[in-house]
C-alpha cells in the first residue's frame, strides 16, 4: 500500500482529503451530535443536491451551487424556527425532499446527456482534484480557526443558549453561524463520501468518542483521530479488496461504533 501511495497521486489526494475531512467532521460532528442536529445535517445534505443540479444546468461549478443551496436552506431552517411555530424537524423533511427533487428537475432540464450524479450521491474520494483539495483546505482552516478562537463562547452557547443570551452573547448570530458551518461542512464532505453517506462521518466518530470522554474539546480531538484512523483504514481496505471507498469507510466506522457500544455495555455490567 505504501508504495502505491508514494507512486499514485490520486491515492495521495485521497489520503489528504480523508485527513482534512476527519478534522472538520470531528469538530462539526461533535456539535451536530450534541445539539441533536443530525436530521438537520441530513436535510442540508439532500437539499444541496438541488444546488448541484442547478450548477450543472446553468454551467457553474456544481459545488458552488451546492454551497448556495446548503447555506440557503440552513438559514431558512434557522429563520423559520426562530419566527414561527413550525417544528424544525418537519421543516427539514420538507426541504430534504424538495432539494432532491429540484436537483433531479434541473438535471432533466440540462441539455445533452445527464451527468453522472453517483459521485455526488455516493462520493468518490479517488477522483478528488487539486482544486478540490485547496477548497477543502480553506474551508477546514476557516472552521478550525473559528472553533479555536471562540471556543469558550461556543461552549457556553452549545450548553445553555438562554443563559448565554442573558449575559449578552450574540446567540442569534451564533446560531445562524453554526448552521452555516454545518452547511459548509456538508458541502465539503459531499466530495468525499457523497450526500447519502455524509451523516455517518458526522455522527459515528463523535458517537464513539463520547464513550471515552466527558470533555467537549477532548471529544472533538478524539473524533478527529477516530475519523482519521477509520477513513484511512477504509481507504486501504477498499484499495485491497477493490470495493467502493466511500461505502467501505462508512461500513467500517459504523461497525466500530456498534462494537464499542456493545463492549462498553458489557463492561458496565460486570
Amino acid at each position: 500500500m505504501i508504495e502505491a501511495l508514494l507512486k499514485y497521486t490520486f491515492l495521495q489526494h485521497a489520503f489528504i482529503t480523508a485527513i482534512l475531512a476527519s478534522v472538520v467532521c470531528g469538530i462539526i460532528g461533535t456539535i451536530v451530535v450534541e445539539k441533536k442536529l443530525v436530521m438537520m445535517s441530513g436535510g442540508i445534505a439532500h437539499t444541496a443536491f438541488g444546488g448541484i443540479g442547478l450548477g450543472y444546468c446553468i454551467g457553474i461549478e456544481p459545488i458552488v451551487g451546492a454551497l448556495f443551496f446548503a447555506g440557503g436552506s440552513s438559514f431558512a431552517v434557522a429563520a423559520i424556527k426562530r419566527n414561527t411555530n413550525t417544528n424544525p424537524d418537519t421543516l427539514i423533511g420538507i426541504l430534504w425532499s424538495m432539494g432532491m427533487a429540484a436537483g433531479i428537475l434541473f438535471i432533466s432540464l440540462t441539455p445533452g446527456y445527464p451527468p453522472d450524479m453517483s459521485s455526488y450521491l455516493f462520493g468518490d474520494i479517488l477522483t478528488v482534484s487539486v482544486f478540490d483539495i485547496y477548497t477543502i483546505t480553506v474551508l477546514v482552516s476557516f472552521i478550525v480557526f473559528i472553533m479555536i478562537a471562540f471556543y469558550n463562547y461556543w461552549k457556553s452557547f452549545l450548553f445553555d443558549e438562554e443563559f448565554s443570551f442573558v449575559i449578552g452573547l450574540k446567540t442569534a448570530f451564533m446560531e445562524y453561524f453554526m448552521f452555516l458551518l454545518i452547511a459548509l461542512t456538508v458541502v465539503v464532505l459531499i466530495r468525499v463520501v457523497g450526500i447519502i453517506l455524509v451523516i455517518s462521518l458526522l455522527t459515528a466518530p463523535p458517537a464513539i468518542a463520547k464513550f471515552f470522554t466527558y470533555d467537549l474539546k477532548k471529544m472533538m480531538a478524539l473524533s478527529i483521530l477516530i475519523g482519521m484512523i477509520f477513513s484511512i483504514s477504509g481507504l486501504w481496505l477498499s484499495y485491497y479488496f477493490n470495493i467502493p471507498s466511500g461505502a467501505m469507510i462508512i461500513l467500517l466506522i459504523g461497525s466500530v461504533f456498534f462494537l464499542t457500544a456493545f463492549l462498553k455495555r458489557r463492561q458496565s455490567r460486570k
Binding site: 469558550n152 438562554e162 449575559i167 450574540k170
Partner: protein, 262 residues
C-alpha cells in the same frame, strides 16, 4: 430617595400570548432595588414566562419592561442580569464540567477571539465554588451531579457574573429541605447589594426568606409585602391552598408606607 431610581424592574401592562392563549395578561408591577421578591402561583400560571420576558428571552405582545429605567437589551449587554434556569431543562449528558459551567459566567458581550480564562477568572471560580460549598465537585461532569448540586452550580455561574439583578426559576424544585435552606440563606445574603427575584412553589420559604411576593396566575393577583391572606391565595391558585399549614404569613414592618398594590 426618588422612587423612580429605586426601580430595578418595572413592568407595565405586560401581555404575552402563545397563539390565542394568554400566558400573561396585563401584568403591571415594579421591583425595587435591593429586595428579594418571590413570585408564586399555580403551574402554567405564567411565572416562568414572566421571568423570561423580563430577561428578553420572550418578546411581549403588549406592554413594556424596563430595567433600571432602560430597555432589557442594553442592560443585558452591560451584564446587569443574572439567570438561574430550571435544573430540569438541561441535557445532563452534555460534555461539560462544573468548573467550565461556572467560568462561562465570566463571558460577556464582547466576543474576543482567543478568549481563554485567565488566572483572575479561575480565582473567581474558586471563590464562588467555595461560597456555594461545592469545591469538591469542580471537575465533575454535570451528569454526575444530583439535582441539588447542579442547582448550586447554576447559581454559582450566575453569581460569578456579578449581576445587579438575579432571577431564579424554581431554584428549589426537587431539593431536600436542608439544601433548600442553604440556598435561600445564600440568596438572602446577596440582598440588598443585588436584587433577587425567585419564581417558586415553595410556600414555606415565602414567610421566612422573602421581602415581597407577587401572586401570578396569568394575571397578577397580589403584589405586596408578605401579608398574604387566605383569600388572595385562593384567588391566585383558583382553589383553596392551605396557607396555615405552611406557616405563612406574619406581619412585616412596612418601611415607608409605600403601597405596591395594583
Amino acid at each position: 430617595m426618588n422612587r423612580e431610581d429605586g426601580k430595578a424592574i418595572d413592568v407595565q401592562n405586560l401581555s404575552v400570548y402563545f397563539g390565542k392563549q394568554p400566558a400573561l395578561k396585563d401584568v403591571t408591577f415594579s421591583v425595587h432595588k435591593g429586595i428579594m421578591l418571590g413570585i408564586i402561583g399555580p403551574n402554567g400560571g405564567g411565572k416562568s414566562t414572566l421571568l423570561k420576558t423580563i430577561l428578553g428571552l420572550v418578546t411581549p405582545d403588549k406592554g413594556k419592561i424596563t430595567i433600571f429605567g432602560k430597555g432589557n437589551k442594553i442592560q443585558r449587554e452591560r451584564g446587569v442580569l443574572g439567570y438561574v434556569p430550571q435544573v430540569a431543562s438541561f441535557d445532563r449528558l452534555f460534555p461539560i464540567k462544573v468548573i467550565d459551567v461556572i467560568l462561562s459566567g465570566r463571558l460577556n458581550k464582547t466576543m474576543k477571539p482567543f478568549k481563554f480564562f485567565s488566572g483572575e477568572d479561575k480565582k473567581a471560580g474558586e471563590e464562588v465554588l467555595d461560597s456555594m460549598g461545592i469545591e469538591a465537585l469542580k471537575n465533575r461532569q454535570i451528569g454526575q451531579l444530583s439535582g441539588g448540586q447542579l442547582q448550586k452550580v447554576l447559581i454559582a455561574r450566575a453569581l460569578i457574573h456579578k449581576p445587579a439583578i438575579l432571577l431564579l426559576d424554581e431554584p428549589t424544585a426537587s431539593i431536600d429541605s436542608q439544601t433548600k435552606n442553604q440556598i435561600y440563606n445564600i440568596l438572602n445574603s446577596l440582598v440588598p447589594k443585588i436584587t433577587v427575584v425567585v419564581v417558586t412553589h415553595d410556600m414555606a420559604a415565602v414567610s421566612s426568606y422573602f421581602d415581597y411576593i407577587a401572586c401570578l396566575n396569568t394575571a397578577l393577583h397580589y403584589h405586596g409585602d408578605k401579608e398574604l391572606t387566605q383569600e388572595t391565595v385562593d384567588e391566585t391558585f383558583g382553589c383553596p391552598v392551605d396557607l396555615i399549614a405552611h406557616g405563612v404569613p406574619h406581619r412585616v414592618y412596612r418601611e415607608d408606607g409605600d403601597v405596591y398594590h395594583d
